[in-house]
């Protein structure tokens, strides 16, 4: 189907879309009953014979309010109902779908017009939701809903009027950097692969997301799968990739099933296949599932896994853009990176001199443009998935969006970047409060903390920093692929020492040994897992020195 055809179909569909109930069912909200809420609502609506659409949406990121149900009485009126339980279904149907006005409230959550008439507040106020725009707001697997919101306009525009080389130039100029954690200019990879002149070239979408405390890619795949497919199509067009591998974490079953269903729809609509939008451009997507292990997020280990090899990193050079999957030029992009593309290219102006004159490029800081999706967890009142402009401070994220620590507690620091990142302290013991650091590529703190793929875990006064560091070290030791001797042996040795500290067997020399071994493991390892495994330990020793000194007795 061509683009005008898609738009016409979406217009037709939108007339019959309302009233509609969207239940935000995601990998995490299912754990608090969202799936049951959906089933009950569907059963109730069917039982009563109501002309109401019941559909699944992704989670909009407000974990603390899940499960969330959106009641769309008409195209222009939506109510957002939070913390809905299956037992609330009867009253929702009574109060919101069969009567008017809608006032009654019989459950513990809240119900409010959405978006609020007086503008966003609290959790929503500090966010800049460009990439998460659709997530939670549209029916995940309804392509017409995606098109109604402007979906595929970027792909249409790119294929019909911009050459692959120009797309690369545009994205280079907009300075889109990889959101997987390394912040390498995405289009630089496309350029590199194209420049080899060899084919086939591959695009490999890294949706492994194995790091604890990170759930952004899963939300995007569950809530806005067509956006990812559109982003993939644009990148594949720019690269000239015939085959795309979408490598989804082995435990992210819901993401995989939604992507598979979305892919089927997209193929049926001619958005993936030999003639994309009836153009001469064609490509195919194959979904692969992770074989287990944090190191799979490392791109060369990921390629080995696809090839059926053991998941250990490869030496570089050669780099994947020259010799990746089966020795072919391969670009590896993260899900979030690709999800930026539709929004960017729907409006970016291809004319030289006016490039950069669009929303994406205006958001962010001097050093980093655009937004970053942050997985905010830990001891905070409003944990969830949030999207903020690059350059926002951790304080804004923790306090303005996250609402600060639970009543009566103090934030003592955060873990930024998970097991490959480090700890930041929130007190003035080091001469400054580190929460005012602005997020962006590179190190947030030389001792270890990084933005990485965007995980921030808040620690308060109920938490022992030594135990936190031990847990992160245990994770690294468990996940070391074992290839490099320093990583295989060193992560285990560091864990042994940390176990001793936590269990009261610490001794004074332990801290020096930890510091020292962190350096050796970092210097002597091939991939990021080993190179950064010392981060939590070194930053913990530096910023929570008194806790460690105490533990070392």
């Amino acid at each position: 189907m061509n683009y005008p055809g898609l738009v016409a179909r979406a217009e037709e569909a939108s007339r019959a879309r309302f009233p509609r109930v969207l239940v935000q069912v995601g990998g995490c909200t299912r754990s608090v009953g969202a799936g049951v809420v959906f089933d009950s609502l569907l059963a109730e609506v069917t039982k009563r014979g109501l002309a109401v659409t019941v559909a699944v949406a992704g989670c909009d990121g407000a974990c603390f309010q899940a499960p969330v149900v959106l009641v769309q009485t008409s195209e222009s009126e939506t109510f957002r109902l939070t913390q809905v339980e299956p037992t609330d279904v009867g009253s929702i149907v009574d109060d919101w779908l069969t009567t008017s006005p809608h006032e009654s409230q019989d459950w513990k959550g809240t119900a409010a017009l959405w978006p609020p008439a007086d503008g966003p507040s609290g959790f929503w106020a500090g966010q800049t939701r460009l990439v998460l725009d659709n997530t939670g707001r549209i029916a995940s697997l309804d392509p017409d809903d995606y098109v109604s919101g402007g979906g595929y306009s970027a792909l249409h525009r790119v294929i019909s009027s911009i050459s692959p080389e120009e797309v690369i130039d545009l994205v280079l100029e907009a300075d889109l950097r990889g959101r997987g954690g390394a912040y390498f200019p995405a289009a630089r990879k496309w350029q590199g692969a194209r420049a080899t002149g060899r084919s086939p070239r591959y695009l490999l979408v890294n949706a492994e997301e194995g790091e604890p405390g990170i759930y952004k890619d899963r939300h995007l795949m569950e809530g806005d799968p067509f956006r990812l497919l559109e982003g993939i199509a644009i990148a594949a067009y720019a690269i000239g990739a015939e085959t795309v591998y979408l490598y989804i974490n082995g435990e992210a079953n819901l993401s995989a099933s939604r992507m598979a269903r979305a892919l089927d729809r997209a193929k049926a609509d001619g958005l993936v296949g030999s003639k994309v939008l009836d153009s001469g451009f064609g490509f195919d997507i194959e979904i692969r599932r992770g074989a287990g292990g944090y190191v799979l997020g490392e791109e060369s280990a990921l390629m080995n896994s696809i090839e059926g090899q053991r998941n250990v990193p490869r030496t570089r050079p050669p780099f994947p853009v020259e010799s990746g999957l089966w020795g072919r030029p391969t670009v590896i992009n993260n899900v979030e990176t690709l999800c930026n593309l539709p929004m960017m290219l729907a409006e970016a102006c291809p004319e030289p001199g006016r490039r950069g004159d669009f929303k994406y490029a205006q958001v962010g800081s001097d050093t980093a443009r655009g937004t970053k999706i942050i997985s905010l967890s830990g001891r905070v009142q409003r944990p969830g998935l949030v999207e903020v402009a690059m350059g926002s401070t951790i304080r804004e994220i923790v306090y303005d969006i996250g609402g600060g620590p639970p009543e009566g507690h103090e934030v003592i620091g955060v873990v930024a970047g998970g097991p490959s990142g480090g700890l930041l302290n929130a007190d003035m013991s080091q001469g400054r409060d580190m929460l005012d650091v602005a997020i962006g590529p590179g190190m947030l703190d030389p001792a270890g903390a990084v933005l990485g793929s965007g995980g921030i875990t808040v620690l308060d006064d109920t938490v022992s920093p030594v135990e936190v560091v031990r847990r992160l070290a245990a994770y690294n030791a468990e996940e070391s692929c074992s290839k490099c001797t320093p990583c295989r042996e060193g992560t285990k040795r560091m864990l042994d020492i940390l176990d001793g500290l936590v269990e009261g067997r610490g001794k004074a020399s332990d801290l020096e040994a930890l510091e020292y071994m962190s350096d050796i493991v970092g210097l002597g390892s091939l991939c990021g897992l080993g190179q950064m495994a010392g981060g939590p330990i070194k930053s913990g020793l530096k910023h929570f020195k008194e806790h460690f000194t105490r533990a070392a007795g």
């Binding site: 250990v312 996940e479 074992s482 001797t485 285990k492």
Partner: protein, 908 residues
């Protein structure tokens, strides 16, 4: 090759463009410590022991994964890299038993001292099989360390000693991954892998089974590369460090691998594939790795035996030689014959035929080759000018198309098969023509499975397709060949439908194969004819030589026609004239009799001689009266039919073991093995390589060249006084033009490939490469008009036996194994056999017990015996000469019958 200069530790060294820093440094004699790196393997970059500092590069890159670039400045020592190495070694030692390093007695302990009563020592050096030959130890000493700062933890893992060849002690493993990579990169077998992850990672099999379950071929590559004692040979595991090592040539197949034999006392305790071997470059197979055990077998003959009153009794050499000299003097002339050993040296083969022709005045001399007899190679001499491989083994990795006919290469020539498998991995098309299911057949792009004895017809069909579709190399044909018209005419006489009908392979697939061979260049051919071709061997060779000439696949690397002869010196035996009517260097009797007679000071007999089969026939009918068999039996007993031997008036057998033939002999002479003598072998690719004496001959055994010279002198012949084998080679060189430039002291590590006509000639790796001529004139295309003889019905032995080996797979067979006999369901029904029946396959030669597999696809009239590889190796490598029933060649090609085996007592 681009040469660049880099600076290492202040020293300017030359390097090649594609070299890594560690390779360049190592070649210049600068040592950078390493553990996971190995010269035969791809860089892995895991142990991080080889870290260096490089100007303008961040951090401490691993020198094994960093490419050397022009002008690079590298520092291999210094506080920072030393510290990293120390710290990594600390971590390794904290999990590796290291009593060998920390023992307080280490400085005043002599080599191999055993100090079990020394009270202070609990963890002893002698408890490690690798003590004093351990690379980890070497690196630790280089780093001047003697202990780990970290607390030691013993993994306490059970040992795996479940297979007959290789022991695993994972408590000693340092997870360098060399073994896994050797198994993958060198052998392409992938029997072992890393298991688990994190600090639990070790080496094992992917599904946790034993090595034989996971498809291990026991090539021993993992053993050779293991830097510690984690993977060791079971035999001589505790023999400790060797006292000396000598490189020589493997005595098994015709590939000619160089092996380093390690010696302690006068005992060969280990065999390691030599990295500098021009053919094997550090690779070996189970035969090379473990097949040296026969040298010290307690069944070796160590004294001459003489038949007295019907029984063989021990005798002195004096007694034995006198007796032979006295008796043989009576049989000069055509009543005498000799069979040469394909494992004897060139010098011995030359002397034997000189003895037979010059002293005994007979032309009855031949050798036997179980996979590719000399008559299957002879057509190459006639058509291409040289009866040998046109090309070499190593280059085959570059072939774009490989046609393998009738050869179970992975089993018979495993190290040559490595190149074939690697070429396939790199995308080459592999076409296998074989009635038998071989490992390569399963790997092939196209496995064409003709009925036995119709291979030549299939190949003629391919030639027809190549001519009909005009896939000819016209330029090559017009400039270098003749006989094209006659060949074309012969191809017009049959249709593809007839070929299809006769051989049973779909003609569409034949067309595909012919196109692949005809269009993908370079295309190479390997062939053997011993398995099923019966008497059609020469026809196969003819068709293959035609195919190569039609497509111009000659004279360029990775092409040609390449017969795979069976044994270490099959080629040399033929080169040296151990064939009935051909003198050394393939001179015909008519051409060479005068020159050789003059050189030897005798007049040579003119009547034509008998080959092996004819000699046996003449023995039966009584016209051959005396026979000298030189056998050098190493693995399996290949003795001729005892019925024929018993009919002789006088039989002398010179061998390593008391074989079936020796048991029939009047005199048995104990010969020295390849490890006990000097000389040369010529491998299948015409490479003359030096065989070096490693140990003194066992007991009273003597080298074959001495025996034959002693014997000749006793008979009164002159011209048998040599200072040593090198003098024999000088005489060979003076008479045989293709060996003209060959001298022992010229062979070095790489040997010389004939033709090598003069002392300044570098040898000829590829035949027909430079000169316009093929051989001495033009390549001769021969008409292909082979008609397979109709299968002869034989009521007593209705089945033809084919044989191969297979790798055991868990659940199919256990280690002790069983032969699987596959036969067509119609044959099975006729013989009243059902699937899984225990059956006995009986031929005139002997019998084998097997498990029946009834298949609708298996060819009619054939019984396919598949031997479990491990069982075959155990049997043939450990107790030489082995129980022949466990050798796949035992019944191969024989006619047999099969019947259900009835368990004793089950008859009621």
């Amino acid at each position: 090759m681009d040469e660049i200069t880099i600076t290492v530790d202040g020293q300017q060294i030359k390097a090649e463009k594609d070299q890594t820093v560690i390779e360049a440094a190592r070649e210049a004699g600068i040592y950078i410590p390493y553990l996971c790196w190995h010269p035969t393997l791809k860089a892995f970059g895991a142990c991080r022991m080889c870290v260096v500092q490089i100007e303008n590069m961040r951090g401490t890159p691993a020198s094994c994964t960093t490419a050397a670039t022009d002008g690079m400045v590298v520092t291999t020592k210094g506080p920072e890299v030393d510290q990293i190495r120390h710290d990594i070694m600390d971590m390794i030692l904290s999990e590796h038993p290291h009593g060998c390093l920390t023992c307080p007695r280490i400085d005043h302990c002599g080599p191999q001292d055993i100090c079990l009563r020394h009270a202070n020592v609990v963890d002893r050096c002698v408890l490690c099989p690798q003590n004093e030959r351990c690379e980890l130890q070497d690196v630790v000493f280089h780093l001047q360390m003697n202990d780990s700062d970290l607390a030691y933890e013993y993994r306490n893992l059970p040992l795996d000693t479940s297979n007959p060849f290789i022991d695993h002690d994972m408590n000693l493993c340092i997870v360098c991954g060399r073994c896994v990579r050797a198994c993958n990169e060198i052998e392409g077998v992938d029997a072992i892998t890393f298991i688990e992850r994190g600090d639990k990672t070790l080496i094992g099999t992917s599904l946790g089974g034993s090595l034989s379950d996971s498809g291990c071929t026991f090539c021993g590559a993992c053993v050779d590369v293991c830097p510690v004692g984690a993977i060791t040979e079971k035999d001589h595991k505790w023999s400790g460090a060797p006292e000396r090592s000598i490189t020589t040539i493997c005595s098994h197949c015709s590939v000619g691998c160089q092996l380093e034999l390690l010696v302690k006392g006068e005992k060969v305790v280990r065999s390691i594939a030599d990295l500098s071997g021009p053919v094997n470059r550090g690779n070996s197979c189970a035969k090379g790795k473990f097949g040296y055990l026969f040298i010290h077998s307690d069944q070796r003959l160590t004294t001459p035996l003489i038949r007295k009153e019907g029984a063989l009794v021990e005798a002195s050499w004096e007694e034995a030689l006198s007796l032979i000299a006295e008796r043989l003097a009576q049989y000069k002339g055509p009543g005498f014959g000799a069979i040469a050993s394909t494992r004897a040296t060139n010098e011995e083969c030359y002397l034997l035929q000189k003895f037979v022709r010059g002293v005994m005045a007979s032309n009855n001399i031949d050798h036997r080759d179980s996979t590719c007899p000399s008559e299957s190679v002879a057509p190459l001499g006639e058509m291409l000018g040289a009866a040998a491989m046109t090309n070499g083994f190593r280059e085959m990795v570059d072939a774009k198309c490989l046609l393998v006919v009738g050869s179970d290469m992975t089993s018979d020539h495993p190290v040559a098969a490595i190149q074939v498998k690697e070429a396939v991995r790199q995308g080459a098309t592999l076409i296998v023509v074989d009635p038998v299911e071989t490992e390569l057949a399963l790997l092939a792009t196209q496995w064409l499975r003709p009925r036995p004895n119709t291979e030549a017809l299939l190949l003629a069909g391919m030639a027809k397709i190549i001519v009909d579709e005009d896939l000819l190399d016209q330029e090559f044909l017009s400039q270098k060949c003749e006989g094209l018209d006659q060949l074309k005419e012969s191809l017009e006489r049959f249709s593809l439908d007839q070929v299809e009908e006769a051989m049973g392979v779909d003609k569409g697939r034949l067309v595909e194969a012919a196109r692949a061979y005809g269009t993908q260049s370079p295309a190479a051919i390997f062939y053997a004819t011993g398995s099923s071709a019966q008497n059609a061997g020469p026809e196969i060779a003819k068709a293959l030589a035609d195919l190569a000439m039609l497509t111009g696949n000659l004279g360029v690397p990775a092409s040609g026609v390449n017969p795979l002869r069976a044994d270490a010196n099959s080629q040399g035996a033929a080169d040296m004239g151990c064939i009935p009517n051909t003198l050394p260097g393939y001179a015909s009797l008519a051409q060479g009799a005068e020159a050789f007679g003059k050189a030897w000071g005798v007049s040579l007999p003119s009547e034509s001689g008998a080959g092996y089969d004819e000699m046996m026939q003449r023995a039966r009918d009584g016209s051959l009266k005396a026979l000298l068999i030189v056998a050098d039996t190493q693995r399996v007993d290949e003795s001729p039919d005892p019925e024929a031997l018993k009919n002789l008036e006088f039989l002398v057998v010179q061998d390593l073991f008391l074989t079936e033939a020796a048991k029939c002999a009047d005199v048995v002479l104990p010969a020295a093995t390849f490890a006990e003598k000097d000389g040369t072998f010529t491998n299948a690719e015409r490479r003359v390589q030096k065989v070096n004496r490693v140990i003194e001959p066992l007991g009273g055994a003597r080298p074959g060249w001495q025996i034959i010279c002693d014997l000749a002198r006793r008979i009164g012949a002159s011209g048998f006084d040599y200072e040593g084998p090198h003098k024999v080679m000088e005489e060979i060189a003076s008479l045989v033009p293709i060996y003209g430039g060959i001298r022992h002291d010229r062979l070095g590590v790489k040997g010389l490939q004939w033709p090598c006509p003069s002392l300044d000639h570098p040898g000829t790796p590829i035949l027909h490469a430079e000169s316009q001529n093929i051989g001495s004139g033009k390549g001769l295309l021969k008409p292909l008009d082979f008609q397979p003889a109709p299968a002869q019905a034989d009521a007593e032995y209705p089945l033809l036996v084919m044989a191969s080996t297979f790798r055991e797979v868990k659940g199919v067979l256990e280690l002790e194994g069983q032969v699987i006999a596959t036969l067509n369901r119609n044959d099975a029904a006729a013989l009243d056999l059902a699937d899984s029946d225990e059956i006995e396959v009986v031929s005139k030669r002997g019998s084998v017990t097997a498990r029946a597999r009834v298949s609708p696809d298996s060819p009619v009239g054939i019984i396919m015996l598949a031997y479990p590889q491990t069982r075959v190796l155990v049997s043939t490598l450990y107790h030489a000469p082995a129980d022949s029933t466990w050798d796949p060649t035992f019944l191969k090609g024989a006619r047999a019958r099969a019947a259900k085996l009835v368990a004793a007592g089950a008859g009621t």
